[in-house]
Each structure stands twice: as structure tokens, then as C-alpha cells.
């Protein structure tokens, strides 16, 4: 790896921690970002010449902080601070700061930064955009492309989000245990949303936006490093890893959805699956089950099956029953119905989703699954009605194309039935 690539990786890796600490000094997102930008520019000039500092994050924070203070001092016409060339030789200053970073401050810095980005006052799309901009350091252009809006629109969205959180006034003192748990929960939810955004796009033609998924996994790992004993965070990281491991098999060359049962499992990333399963194992030891852990366990059951027909559907059914108890939701019941259809047959599954028509009236997968179950029961005319509704609700071209395939099968009457939801 070249020195430039390494510096790039080090700057990316340091970003959440450095911006978090600078935010603590300046109490202003824009100022913290500007100071970090400046520190990065100086690192790019300084590191190739003087070699990388022992603690890149501490260096960036120190230089960024001095830049900010310098800025203020220059305005008040007092003496400037020493140049960075001098700073990087001041081993003591770096050690001091590094020590301060190792205490709990640092954990709360990063948590605060993440929490500010996913502040409950912000709509989900703004939370994700802000986190991608501030924490991940994606460019406006990259984020705009991911959300299929213009750069100007994305800039406006992020500016609006920033002004909203600055008014929201997130406290800077150390959060108490209850407050911290609440923040961790909100951050986990935002990371989960970010992953879903990448996993199944809410619009446009690119069905899987790998970059967003990878970024979500990076943030989940970061959160887990901050809270290494939280089983739900282990569950979250495991869930994202296990889902992401299937990405290479989820779409065919033309971008069409390939159902879980039809995927070439040799394409699944075994290395990522192993890490996900290890995290599920670790989480279960705590005997404090939660929704992320259960969802990860479900993904784990699929990962364990060498062939689709080896899938332990009754285990999945039971796990969904647990999830229904922990987090009752019509979407969970809908997913459970897929497992029930495998264990008890389509009639039982159909009965199970009978009452979901109202709460899931606008939900693509409801119509897809109901159509598929009706098709399995030979009720083809009814099935066609539900597939038509599903197409109307499809978010992406790939989803629509997939349902059209079902309709083609109905016309041909020769192909075996598929359930739509297993594609997830």
C-alpha cells in the first residue's frame, strides 16, 4: 500500500473521533469540520515529509484545535501558535492528548457526534445524509448520487439538518447511563436505516448500493468498539454483516433480483458470514435478547444452510415468533408468514396475513407475498390482482421486474411458485 493510500485510510479512520473531539472544543459542527479539513490538509503536506505521527488521531485533533484557536487569536490580533512542524516534534503534547483520548471522553465524543447526526428531531433521510457527511466524510456529490437528488438539493438538506440540530442543543456534559443508552439506541437505529437504504434502495435503478452498506458496517463496528459488551450492538453488526455477505449473489448480470432460494450460495462471502456468526454467538451468551440479535440469528440460520432446501424453517419461524414478541409489527408477522408457509404450507401463511391488508396497504412486499401464496394455492386470478398491485408499489426497476416474472409464470402456468419476500 502506498503512503498516500495509507494517509487516506488513516484520515478516514480518524475522522469520527477527531471531529467528535473538535466538536467538544468548538461546540459548533461547521467549525469542527473546518478545523478537521485544515488538519487533513496539513497532514497531507507534513506526513509524507516527516513520516506518520505515532498517533494520527491525536495529531489531527491537536493541529485542528490549534487552527481553530489560531483563527480566533488572529482575529483578536494576539500571538500565533507554533507551526505544526514544531508540534509533531513535541512528543509530550501528543502523549498528553493521547492519554486524554483514551479515557471515557473519547467514547462520549464519538457517541455525541453520532447522536447529533441522528437527532430525533430530524427525519430519517436527513439523519442519514448528515451522518454520511459529518461522520463518514462522504462528499456532497457522493451522497447526492446515493440518494438520487441533485447536489444542490442535498446541500440544502444537510444545511437544514445542521441548523436544526444546532437549535436542538444537545448537551455537552457527560451523559448519564440512561441518556447514554438512549443515544446508543438512536444511533443503532440510524445505522440500521443507512444499511437498509443501501440494501434495498427506496428509489431509482441501482438496487444495491454497496457503498452505503459498507459505510453502515463501518459505523456499526465503530459503535461496537465503543460499547464492546452491548449484545444488541453485536446483534446489529452481525445482522449487517450476514445480510451484506449475500450481496454478490442477490442480483443477476442484468440487475434482476435473485431470490434467496435461487441464489448461488458459492457467491456468498464466507469470511463475512463467519464474522457475523461469531458475533451472534458472542451476543447470545449475554442472555439479553433484542430485536437486532434475533434478526441476526435469523440471517444466521440462512447462512448455515448450504442449500436452500437445507434451511431450518421451523427455527426461523420460532425466531420470528420471538421477534414478534419483542417488537410487534405487521412487517415482522409478514416475514414470519414466509417461514410458516414453508413449515405448514401456503394456506396457514395466508390465514396469518389475512389481517395485515389494512396496516400494510402501501407495502410492496405484502402484495408480492400474498400473490405468491395465492399462486401456490392455485388461485391464479386472485394472485394476478395482488401481483399487479405489487408492481404499482415497486420502488425499483428490479423489484418490478421480479414481480413481472411471477406474472409471466402465471401466464405460462408451468414454473414452480416462489415467495417474493424471501428475496430480502
Amino acid at each position: 500500500m502506498t503512503a498516500v493510500a495509507w494517509i487516506d485510510a488513516a484520515l478516514r479512520a480518524s475522522r469520527p473521533q477527531a471531529i467528535g473531539a473538535l466538536l467538544r472544543y468548538f461546540r459548533d459542527l461547521d467549525q469542527a469540520e473546518e478545523a478537521f479539513q485544515e488538519a487533513c490538509l496539513r497532514a497531507l503536506k507534513n506526513w509524507p515529509v516527516n513520516g506518520p505521527p505515532r498517533d494520527p488521531t491525536a495529531w489531527l485533533i491537536l493541529v485542528g484545535r490549534n487552527f481553530g484557536l489560531d483563527h480566533v487569536r488572529r482575529q483578536s490580533k494576539s500571538q500565533a501558535l507554533p507551526a505544526d512542524e514544531v508540534i509533531s516534534d513535541l512528543g509530550d503534547a501528543e502523549t498528553d492528548l493521547a492519554e486524554r483520548l483514551d479515557d471515557s471522553h473519547y467514547r462520549d465524543d464519538v457517541l455525541r457526534l453520532l447522536f447529533i447526526c441522528c437527532h430525533p428531531d430530524l427525519p430519517a433521510t436527513q439523519q442519514i445524509a448528515l451522518a454520511l457527511r459529518i461522520v463518514s466524510g462522504l462528499t456532497l456529490k457522493e451522497i447526492a448520487r446515493a440518494f438520487l437528488v441533485s447536489e444542490a438539493a442535498m446541500e440544502q438538506r444537510i444545511t437544514r439538518a445542521k441548523s436544526r440540530v444546532s437549535k436542538a442543543d444537545v448537551p455537552f456534559e457527560m451523559p448519564g447511563a440512561a441518556e447514554r443508552a438512549e443515544r446508543v439506541g438512536a444511533v443503532a437505529a440510524m445505522i440500521y436505516l443507512l444499511f437498509n437504504e443501501g440494501y434495498s434502495a427506496s428509489g431509482g435503478t441501482v438496487h444495491v448500493r454497496v457503498h452505503l452498506c459498507e459505510e453502515a458496517i463501518r459505523l456499526a463496528r465503530l459503535l461496537l468498539r465503543l460499547f464492546p459488551s452491548e449484545p444488541e450492538i453485536m446483534g446489529l453488526a452481525a445482522l449487517l454483516l450476514l445480510q451484506h455477505a449475500r450481496a454478490p449473489a442477490r442480483l443477476d448480470a442484468d440487475g434482476n433480483v435473485i431470490l434467496l432460494q435461487d441464489q448461488d450460495r458459492a457467491l456468498w462471502n464466507r469470511e463475512i458470514i463467519a464474522e457475523g456468526l461469531a458475533l451472534v454467538d458472542k451476543a447470545l451468551r449475554h442472555r439479553r435478547p433484542g430485536p437486532y440479535q434475533v434478526q441476526a440469528a435469523i440471517a444466521g440460520v440462512h447462512a448455515h444452510a448450504a442449500r436452500a432446501e437445507d434451511t431450518d424453517w421451523s427455527e426461523i419461524d420460532q425466531l420470528y415468533a420471538t421477534l414478534e414478541r419483542l417488537q410487534p409489527s405487521p412487517v415482522v408477522t409478514l416475514n414470519r408468514a414466509v417461514a410458516v408457509s414453508k413449515v405448514q404450507g401456503p394456506a396457514a401463511a395466508l390465514a396469518m396475513i389475512e389481517n395485515l391488508a389494512a396496516p400494510l396497504a402501501g407495502y410492496f412486499h405484502f402484495y408480492g407475498l400474498k400473490g405468491a401464496l395465492l399462486k401456490q394455492l392455485g388461485r391464479t386470478d386472485e394472485a394476478r390482482v395482488f401481483f399487479d398491485r405489487a408492481i404499482a408499489l415497486a420502488n425499483t426497476a428490479a423489484e418490478a421486474a421480479h414481480i413481472r416474472l411471477h406474472l409471466d409464470h402465471l401466464i405460462n402456468e408451468s414454473e414452480p411458485a416462489h415467495d417474493v419476500h424471501a428475496a430480502r
Binding site: 503512503a3 463501518r218 464492546p228 463467519a274
Partner: protein, 122 residues
């Protein structure tokens, strides 16, 4: 003498490598390990999962199981090589070769006291 070459790096940085960068590092290391293997000097090689997947057992009055790595450090043990070398100089040279021009991180060389190749298939 057998030496373990232990690879330490900041896993947040390694985690920020793109797949292409990661593959490039592995490919470069492969060149070295293949040479060592051809010379009959290469023992087991392992790459560890991130420390987030680690669990630590500490012995006290009763053994305590802790989530996470053994030590909270800036740089984590990410993997290791076992190589047969004629001298420390030779081991240092091998470690240098494995590390290539790569920036950041550190390779620790530890002489082996006991070596059991194990019996696991593959």
C-alpha cells in the same frame, strides 16, 4: 529457529482500506509467503477477525469472560506468520519483506519456544 511474526495495526485504519487496497496488500504478501513455502520455511499463517469479535477469559477466583480483546491498545494484533529463520537478522529481514513498503502498523518478532503444528485438516 522458528519465529512468530506478529502483525499489529490500527484496525480502524485497516478497516478503512478499500477491498482493492486490502487485496493488494495480501497479494504482495503472497509473493513472499510463496517464496518461504518453496524454501520449506513457512509454518502456519493466520489472519484474525476484528477485535470486536474477540472474547477474553481472565482467571481470578472464578474465570471471568470479558467481551473484546485482551488489551485496549491503539494497535491490535491482526494476524501472524510462523517462519523458520537462521537468525534474528534473517527473521527481521523476512518481516521487512512481508511488511513491504506499507505505512503504519508494526510487526513484532517473537522466537518460538514450543511449536505444535496441530492435526487439523487443511
Amino acid at each position: 529457529m522458528l519465529y512468530a511474526i506478529l502483525c499489529y495495526h490500527d484496525e480502524a485504519v485497516v478497516g478503512s482500506w478499500s477491498k482493492e487496497e486490502d487485496d493488494a496488500v495480501l497479494a504482495r504478501r503472497d509473493v513472499v509467503t510463496q517464496k518461504l513455502a518453496a524454501q520449506g520455511r513457512l509454518g502456519p499463517v493466520a489472519r484474525l477477525m476484528p477485535t470486536t469479535a474477540a472474547t477474553t477469559v481472565r482467571s481470578g477466583r472464578e474465570s471471568l469472560v470479558i467481551d473484546g480483546p485482551f488489551a485496549e491498545t491503539k494497535e491490535q494484533l491482526l494476524g501472524f506468520y510462523v517462519v523458520d529463520c537462521t537468525s534474528l537478522e534473517d527473521a527481521i529481514e523476512t518481516a521487512r519483506e512481508l511488511k513491504g513498503g506499507e505505512s503504519g502498523g508494526a510487526f513484532e518478532i517473537r522466537p518460538l519456544r514450543l511449536f505444535k503444528p496441530g492435526s487439523r485438516a487443511t
